[in-house]
């Protein structure tokens, strides 16, 4: 109990520090690093959200991409205001994930994973074939309004933080308990009158909405998108963030996203060595810290306090 409260305080302080930096800092590169981290954190928390019901949703990549394409179209083709472009990314993800879920959520485990993988790749192929969406080269010149330029990192931080907070609160509620129960034993959940497929659908839609909004943000932060940005690799990386940070709670996913985003930037420009080192770092941390950095830290803390007692 007490450690949970202490954890909340630490998280709040860290968030305040990052926010202050986003407002006050003027180093453009670091600001971008902050925004990439925030986007990756939403991806990791969104992927983890469906892991709560026991499903690995590779479709996370597809819904992120849909949000990005929708946002890009709203801004570049339809001239809609930026907030609408963000919202549209989330709404499209809601609509498509509802349809996708109704068809696929009767499957589970490896079957659902494979179907969601195929879905992501098919959606990506569609982008490459449709001229209107820019084909292989994608869409360029996706800019937020100029007046927002100095505020983009703050906005990104707040929006992504809000989405993560929403998913965190869902997890803490009775809905989150039902998620965990489904992961433990879905037959028991069904016997007490709860529609498992319906709950999984709610879970999928909430996660997809979050990831869809983040996708639209992505388009406006990178200013360029192409089909290759939204392959199955998106959720695979998100899974690495979760595993490295620790999957016991939301903060693990956020910390993992921060560390690997920064690491990937540091390793960039090392050519093919980049991927080797990146992969090596993931493998090494999995071997040394099977329950992630957060789990490792907790064990260290326990060891320490036992030593004193």
């Amino acid at each position: 109990m007490r450690s949970a409260r202490a954890g909340q305080i630490v998280v709040a302080l860290a968030a305040a520090a990052v926010l202050a930096f986003a407002v006050l800092g003027d180093d453009e590169y670091t600001q971008h690093l902050l925004m990439w981290t925030a986007l990756n954190a939403v991806l990791a928390v969104g992927l983890r959200f469906m892991l709560l019901v026991g499903e690995t949703n590779i479709g996370t990549g597809a819904f992120y991409g849909m949000g990005a394409y929708m946002g890009a179209i709203c801004t570049t083709k339809w001239g809609l205001p930026f907030p609408l472009a963000l919202l549209a990314g989330g709404l499209l993800a809601i609509v498509v994930s509802t349809g996708f879920g109704l068809v696929t959520l009767r499957t589970k485990g490896p079957y659902f994973m494979l179907i969601s993988f195929a879905f992501t790749e098919v959606v990506r192929l569609i982008y490459t074939r449709v001229e209107w969406l820019g084909g292989n080269s994608g869409i360029i010149g996706i800019f937020p309004p100029q007046a927002l330029d100095p505020w983009m990192s703050v906005l990104t931080f707040l929006l992504c933080g809000g989405l993560i907070l929403m998913m965190y609160l869902c997890e803490q509620s009775n809905l989150g308990r039902v998620f965990r129960a489904i992961q433990n034993n879905d037959a028991v959940v069904e016997t007490v009158g709860i529609d498992v497929v319906q709950i999984k659908l709610v879970c999928l839609v909430i996660a997809s909405f979050s990831v869809g909004i983040a996708g639209s943000l992505h388009a406006h932060i990178y200013n360029v998108i192409s089909p290759g940005d939204f392959s199955y690799l998106v959720p695979v990386f998100a899974l690495a963030y979760i595993k490295i940070g620790g999957d016991a709670n939301v903060m693990g996913a956020v910390i993992g996203a921060a560390i690997l985003t920064v690491l990937a930037q540091m390793l960039q420009g090392m050519g093919s060595l980049e991927h080797v080192l990146f992969g090596g770092a993931i493998v090494a941390s999995m071997l040394v810290l099977p329950d992630g950095l957060l789990g490792g830290g907790r064990r260290l803390l326990r060891l320490f306090s036992r030593g004193r007692a």
Binding site: N184, E190, V192, G193
Partner: protein
């Protein structure tokens, strides 16, 4: 006589080449404890799966409280008041005793304070009152069996179907469990369908017993009638030798 709670009319369930349940008809009256017995593989658990909506019957019709429930989902049947447990005791291993029982109460009780009361009352009834914060998977076997009943009973079903609730319990635990089942029937006016292999127990607690053999009903009647039924004696003692 009052209207029966559950009517199964000629239900069958086929798995590929085998008829696990074959043309089985029975009725359960409100307030009674009905026993379902039979040798291994007779089709008892399959019958449970069919009446609770986990399997669709291949043929036949199910009526619960006068409503046709054939083909409804397990969740929908549960919400109408028919809740079952699993033979191998099912619980939410990584969650606390409290959260296990809460999941059982979630659909049945609409407000949070009501749910908490329901959890406490149910836990106390099943001897889990002091263990609300324990993790389900860490409980000893006997208490895990009690918890799987607690989850089902937290929904306060009209018909509670227990698939071998006493398996693996020592004799003290079995006596305690039987007493609890008796209280669930008497104090909460719950109708019970019970499968168990312990003949003495079944004979003692059940008002009526149906005997299954190779998926078909072999006999039905009071414990006294079943005990003296030559077909039943042959199925249990004769066939193998």
């Amino acid at each position: 006589m009052t209207a029966p709670l559950l009517v199964a009319q000629a239900i069958s369930r086929r798995f590929g080449g085998i008829l696990a349940v074959n043309d089985f008809s029975f009725e359960i009256q409100p307030g009674e404890v009905m026993g379902l017995i039979g040798p291994n593989g007779a089709g008892k658990s399959t019958t449970f799966n069919v009446i609770s909506g986990f399997y669709k019957p291949t043929t036949g019709k199910l009526t619960f409280l006068g409503e046709d429930i054939t083909g409804l989902s397990a969740a929908a049947i549960s919400r109408r008041g028919l809740v079952r447990t699993f033979q191998h005791g099912s619980l939410l291993r990584e969650m606390t005793v409290h959260d296990n029982i809460l999941i059982g109460a979630l659909r049945a009780v609409r407000d949070n304070s009501g749910r908490e009361m329901r959890v406490r009352e149910t836990a106390a009834l099943l001897g889990l009152g002091g263990l609300l914060h324990a993790t389900a998977g860490s409980l000893p076997h006997g208490l895990q069996r009690m918890l799987s009943i607690a989850i089902a009973f937290a929904a306060r079903p009209k018909l509670l179907c227990l698939d071998e609730p006493l398996t693996g319990l020592n004799s003290t635990e079995a006596v305690a469990a039987l007493e609890v089942i008796g209280r669930i029937r008497d104090e909460y006016e719950t109708t019970i369908l019970l499968v168990d292999h312990n003949m003495r127990v079944v004979m003692r607690i059940c008002d009526r017993i149906a005997v299954l053999n190779y998926g078909q009903k072999l006999a039905e009647g009071t414990p006294e009638e079943i005990r003296n039924n030559p077909d039943v004696i042959r199925a249990y003692l004769g066939d193998g030798e």
